[in-house]
Homo-oligomer: 329 residues x 2
DNA sequence: TGCAAAAATGAATACGTAACCATTTTGAAA
DNA sequence: TTTCAAAATGGTTACGTATTCATTTTTGCA
């Protein structure tokens, strides 16, 4: 492999000068720059990023610890994060992490001395949070947050839960179900709390509330359980668009029509929800930019300006009224 | 930052021994191992991957140059590639590349001395191919290929085009349109050639054939152009599921019903096509595993076993008959 | 023309690890 | 015990770059 020493020899200068040509060319005489650049071209020299990282203690690399891509929310955010980071000159280590594997992800992050971490997959009181905090590397969470988080970007999950419930109530539904996820996750906890707040007490029944692990299988079972009830729900509030879409998939395949037989509303307003074949009614951020984009923006700001102040962004939400809910009759 | 020298000092051994404890512990006496491990624990030492890469000339990193995630095909393949690579101990640099930015991607790959490259975004006769080839790093393409490719994984695109055309013919359609992409891309070229092969000459009319750049806007315009024809098509064969889904989205929003008013078939059989609200009829691989998975498997094989023989995998295809096509009447 | 200041260049070193080679310690056979 | 091979450990170096400090060359001005 061709190194800066090879270039130096070829151009008849020192390795130091080669380095200067690439980093501080204004300190080098024009003819020397030309000589060196010619050698670089000729030898197809490209600097070794690892050697540079070693001496500069800066890698131009960001770690993205995302949720799984079968959740369309993470499709949107991953695309936004990777593209923005790349446009700013950062490479992105992507991992699709489940809660158990967070420790491996942590090791990988430290080993590779990334300049920053943007992550979603963390529990409200995950003990690993402290390790990330102590790393002394800028990091930010999006969507989910930890109780002690100083840097996060989220939507107003509590309000989203309220709007979800109210939407169904306003449509005249009485049997309104909730399919959510574990309350160890900030998103699910706050959205559910909002849902409870938004419901009328007489309409809120425990048999209509199901906490799943958000897997395809679990959502399927949740839906079946609900529909086997003596008086099955006429409306389902899903904690996320991913759950809503799973639910609609199951419902459709079980012969129900959405929204004729059952109304479904999600939360997140993922891109896919706008598709003409889906037209998912959902609650989502008022802002055009997705949470991943906001998070990577803040993270790069933190990295480059070394600012250490808290970043706590909570986006306002509204209902996007599309075609998976209708009035109860 | 805590280095192996710090650990060595703390444990009262040499740095060499610390390195051995981590890499070849069987060469170290048990009590010494324990002493060193204790020091590692105590200091929270994690080796610096860049320093290791520098001396070993191996980074345990793979570069993924994928197409954009708004194409569901790349959602499936990205998930498969990242997850499998991680499970094998490789980190993955992800980039969503368009054809113009391939040069930047190349530089990034060389700078970072990745162990291998898995990519989709290449043109049939892209001159950059030679540079990748000369890199002397294992690399493999999936989906698309270059004319000189020695390592690729694809579906039988020609046969897919044939099956797509035949499917519509068998349903009795006469006005059958093609919405594809630029023929500078192997996938589009071969699928279109297959489509032509599968059609009856009297049913193949040039006004029904449109090459787009596969952008949302371009597909929209293509669909509108087709439907403004004196005798608009009753069936559309889309070169990819992404185009098919875009087409259906446009059609739905323009007031057409699919398949009642117009039949649409895709190619790729992406996961999303199975969704109950979509049920896209499509042509796809007989095998369960997606192309990304096959590619990353082969790539890691190439990296670890240094095998250099050609890998040219072309998966057989079949029609997945779902609900976006129906008989012409 | 001479001289100081500025500009340009080079030599040596550090970053943190693995690997190579040298040295010491151990243990088993004679 | 003595001997010697095997096991265990340590000292030194290389990887490729940026940086620090030293040296040489050039420039501007008296």
């Amino acid at each position: 492999m061709v190194s800066s020493k090879d270039v130096a020899k070829h151009a008849g200068v020192s390795q130091t000068t080669v380095s200067r040509v690439l980093n501080t060319p204004n300190l080098v005489k024009k003819p020397t720059v030309d000589k060196v650049m010619a050698a670089i071209e000729e030898l197809h020299y490209i600097p070794n990023a690892h050697a540079r990282s070693l001496v500069q203690n800066k890698t131009n690399t960001i770690a993205l610890l995302s949720g799984p891509l079968h959740n369309p929310f993470f499709v949107d955010t991953t695309a936004a994060i990777v593209n923005y980071a790349n446009s700013k000159g950062y490479r992105v280590h992507v991992q699709f992490v489940n809660d158990e594997k967070l420790n491996e992800a942590y090791t990988s992050v430290v080993e590779n001395k990334v300049d920053g971490v943007v992550m979603s997959c963390i529990l409200l009181d995950d003990p690993i949070f402290e390790k990330f905090e102590k790393m002394d590397i800028p990091f930010i969470t999006y969507n989910r947050k930890h109780i002690n988080n100083k840097h996060f970007v989220e939507i107003d999950n509590f309000q989203a839960g309220i709007l979800s419930a109210r939407h169904m109530l306003e449509l005249g539904h009485k049997q309104i179900a909730w399919i959510g996820g574990p309350s160890t996750v900030s998103t699910f906890k706050n959205r559910y709390d909002g849902f409870v707040e938004g419901m009328n007490t007489q309409d809120l029944a425990s048999q209509y509330v199901i906490q799943t692990n958000t897997s395809k299988q679990a959502v399927k079972e949740a839906f079946e359980k609900l529909m086997q009830l003596p008086t099955p729900p006429t409306a389902i509030c899903a904690a996320t668009d991913a759950i809503a879409l799973q639910t609609i998939d199951e419902a459709t395949k079980a012969g129900y029509r959405v929204p004729a037989d059952i109304s479904v509303v999600g939360i997140d307003n993922v891109d896919l929800s706008k598709h003409g074949s889906i037209e998912l009614t959902t609650v989502g951020s008022i802002s055009e930019q997705n949470l991943g984009f906001l998070a990577i923006n803040e993270l790069i700001e933190m990295i480059e300006n070394k600012k250490n102040s808290c970043v706590k962004i909570t986006e306002s939400v509204k209902v996007f009224n599309r075609k998976t809910t209708k009035a109860y009759q």
